[in-house]
């Protein structure tokens, strides 16, 4: 019996979303096939990776990771420029974690200034993330959106609790939007519907299915992502067609495997390698499930995943 390549027929495709302006703008999504199966459908854009920087020094990151940025992390603009110029970052993700009420509780205006400083320092696209406090994010992201007007940023994250203000802010300043729901296919769909019902263009949404670290529930994110992608491609469900983003670093660099010294866990090997491998492997899992955009922290993990992406397309 001769082998005939068994191809799937797809009825839909993932939306293509452009982030940033000018020659370094980045397009994500647009694929008309399951992840990396270019033999049966167009895969026009490689998954992109954004380096995460923060508005305040990352005191809560594991030491091995803090050390990588110790010369630049006191100044977000310098940090972002370092990632762009020295590390070759394709995008930057600025997390305004210092605005969280339990952290420094920075004011929205201060956050806006940080956004401006960072934007002045880079020409790659910028992702602007709040502190994941739904209430505070509504104010902070509004100011951040204004400050970034005209730069076609990706703003996040709109959640069920705050999407109305976040969507309005992103819409007013012409930005793209991350919509995040709690690790559930139907909630993701519902949030996209609510957002588009406000008049926000569905082609400007990027879905965050809610990430999780390797060993800490990655299989849930993985399957939610596979199901979202299947709905977009096989059922041509337009409400599930946005590209997907995974916030990798923030989930990875707080689990025991990336933090515990070898002295405490002798059978786990050196913590420096372990952390890098944990972030890269988590990212690889998401790529296999359909990720279009990864937000990551460690340069060596990023380089590893870039090598893999180049080998996958």
């Amino acid at each position: 019996m001769a082998f005939v390549v068994p191809k799937e027929t797809y009825n839909g495709k993932v939306c293509e979303v452009e982030i940033g302006t000018g020659p370094r703008a980045v397009k994500i999504g647009g694929e008309a096939a399951l992840p990396f199966l270019a033999f049966e459908g167009a895969v026009p854009n490689k998954p992109a990776i954004a380096y995460e920087v923060q508005d305040v020094p990352p005191d809560d990151w594991p030491q091995t990771l803090q050390d990588v940025y110790k010369d630049v992390s006191a100044d977000p603009a310098k940090w972002a420029k370092h990632c762009q110029d020295e590390l070759g970052a394709q995008m930057i993700a600025l997390r305004l974690i210092g605005t969280h009420p339990d952290r420094q509780n920075r004011a929205a205006e201060d956050a806006a200034k940080t956004v401006k400083d960072v934007l002045a320092a880079i020409d790659v696209p910028l992702i602007i993330l709040g502190s994941n406090n739904a209430e505070k994010d509504a104010q902070v992201l509004k100011s951040a959106c204004d400050a970034a007007s005209g730069r076609n940023c990706l703003i996040g994250k709109a959640q069920e609790a705050n999407y109305k203000t976040v969507v309005a802010s992103a819409m007013a300043s012409g930005h793209k939007l991350i919509a995040m729901s709690d690790l559930d296919v139907n909630l993701a769909k519902q949030l996209n519907i609510l957002i588009t019902q406000m008049g926000f263009d569905k082609d400007k949404i990027v879905t965050d299915p809610m990430s999780s670290a390797l060993g800490y529930g990655i299989e849930y994110t993985y399957s939610v992502m596979e199901r979202i992608r299947a709905a977009a491609l096989f059922q041509n469900d337009q409400t599930m067609a946005p590209p997907m983003v995974n916030d990798v670093g923030m989930y990875v660099w707080k689990v025991k495997e990336t933090m515990a010294p070898e002295a405490d866990q002798p059978s786990w090997g050196p913590v420096a390698d372990r952390g890098i491998g944990w972030e890269a492997t988590t990212a690889m899992g998401f790529l296999m499930a359909g990720s279009d955009l990864l937000i990551m922290r460690h340069p060596k993990a990023v380089d590893t995943v870039v090598t893999m992406i180049d080998g996958l397309v």
Binding site: M1, F3, G217, D273, T281, M284, M288, M308
Partner: protein, 447 residues
């Protein structure tokens, strides 16, 4: 391919004799279709029916066992392309490549023997050693295999050689150990099949690309040998994901028998992080045996976690065993928190308690693996049950206070809990685990 009850019924005697224990042949057919009965129960089944149903009941991807005893590795028998459809059945095996020219064969084999780690109650490890006849010398190969077997007696052995003489020299040391011979190519298939048959081994069939490998597999099956794993030669990530997806689809959706075998691959790179990432692709995308060039602890830990995660049953929540866990150097005055035994809940709560740097006692209550809200809604995380658990847990002997912190989502239970736990103070903690560090820090600062 799975048959429907009606299709099976057509091949039964249709006498409704009840000898099988079912009221009618149709009822029996339905049980057969649901795999709740076997055809042996029917004394009157024709030879034709047995042959037909036997072939149809074979799994579309054959199961292959490497090694013997309770540490043997079984791979294959997969039934789906996506884990949300149904559980991935047999987790892939990891193998360490050892060359017979390596100076440290024993040390490497020992690393495999010592690779076991425990995650979420499961003992997991690198199961296999792939000994390669790099030297081309039969004596050296046999010697390396002997060393590997004696240093890692429980590991399954893959013999990477196409040299008949070398294999003949190595195989006696593996009697009864069900090794995998890797392997057979178009040029040597006759010899390899004969060796595998004679030594109770399975056989890796290698050819360049899917079409060639399927033809070779078909030829080997034609020689009366079916204990096969296949290797298309894919070593780059793009080739792996494309070819292995096509193979899995062909076997499951097209009933393409010549590809209905587990896949063996190698993930090699000079860069250990790239090697780990490449192996991740193989794990996620349908490889059943992944050979690695190095198994540094940190690397294996990540790969074993990925394999465990992707091969869990999506229908059954992973559970942690019920216990009062000590977080940090918790003493008698350390705070006591209670939560449910859904592994994700446990991991997240544990992680945040650790992040708080406040030594604590974390009481994890068995709720059939449900999360806090679900368990509460299902009546498994009620005031009475929590009270009973706390009283029976023995924690009262370890702490000097009587204050229990409950998840914010079940704040409603606090009154009832104080009634059921006389003398205890019930404190409502945060709803989300990420608020625990601030909560615990405030708490100890206030104390």
């Amino acid at each position: 391919m799975a048959l429907s009850g009606v299709e099976i019924f057509k091949h039964l005697p249709k006498t409704n004799c009840k000898k099988c224990g079912h009221p009618t042949c149709l009822a029996f057919a339905m049980k057969l279709a649901a795999k709740q009965a076997t055809l042996d129960a029917c004394p009157d089944a024709s030879e034709e029916a047995k042959a037909f149903l036997g072939a149809a009941s074979e799994p579309p991807i054959k199961g292959i066992t490497i090694g013997a005893g309770d540490k043997a590795l079984k791979v294959g028998e997969e039934t789906v392309l996506f884990r949300h459809e149904k559980k991935f059945v047999n987790p892939c095996g990891f193998a360490l490549l050892i060359k017979d020219t390596d100076a440290d064969v024993e040390a490497k084999a020992k690393a495999v023997a010592d690779s076991e780690i425990e995650r979420v109650g499961q003992k997991l490890r690198v199961e296999l050693i792939a000994v390669k006849n790099e030297s081309g010398d039969a004596g050296k190969f046999a010697d390396a295999v002997k060393k590997a077997v004696s240093a890692a007696p429980n590991a399954g052995i893959i013999l990477k050689s196409s040299n008949k003489a070398a294999l003949e020299a190595a195989l006696p040391a593996l009697a009864g150990k069900k090794p995998l011979i890797d392997g057979a190519t178009a040029d040597n298939a006759d010899d390899m099949v004969a060796l595998a048959k004679a030594n109770g081994a399975s056989l890796a069939v290698r050819a360049d690309g899917i079409d060639a490998v399927s033809q070779l597999a078909e030829k080997v099956v034609g020689m009366g040998f079916k204990d096969i794993v296949i290797d298309t030669g894919a070593r780059k990530p793009k080739d792996m994901i494309e070819q292995y997806t096509q193979i899995r689809r062909a076997a499951l959706k097209k009933g393409f028998k010549a590809l209905g075998f587990p896949i063996i691959t190698c993930a090699f790179s000079d860069d250990p992080f790239v090697e780990q990432a490449l192996a991740s692709v193989a794990v996620a995308k349908y490889a059943s045996i992944v050979v690695l060039s190095d198994i540094s602890n940190w690397k294996t830990l990540g790969l074993i976690a990925l394999r465990q995660n992707l091969y869990t049953d999506p229908q059954v929540p992973m559970q942690v065993s019920q216990n009062v866990y000590k977080v940090g150097d918790a003493k008698e005055n350390a705070p006591l928190l209670v939560t449910t035994n859904f592994s994700l809940t446990y991991f997240i709560v544990l992680g945040e308690v650790e992040n708080s740097k406040v030594p604590s006692w974390l009481a994890v209550m068995e709720t059939e693996g449900l999360s806090v809200l679900t368990a509460w809604a299902a009546g498994k995380f009620t005031a009475a049950k929590i009270a009973q658990y706390i009283q029976e847990s023995g924690i009262e002997g370890k702490i000097s206070h009587k204050e229990l912190i409950i998840p914010g989502y079940v704040a409603v239970l606090s009154g009832a809990l104080e009634d059921k736990l006389p003398g205890w103070k019930i404190t409502v903690g945060p709803r989300e685990a990420n608020a625990l560090p601030a909560f615990l820090k405030n708490k100890t600062a206030a104390a």
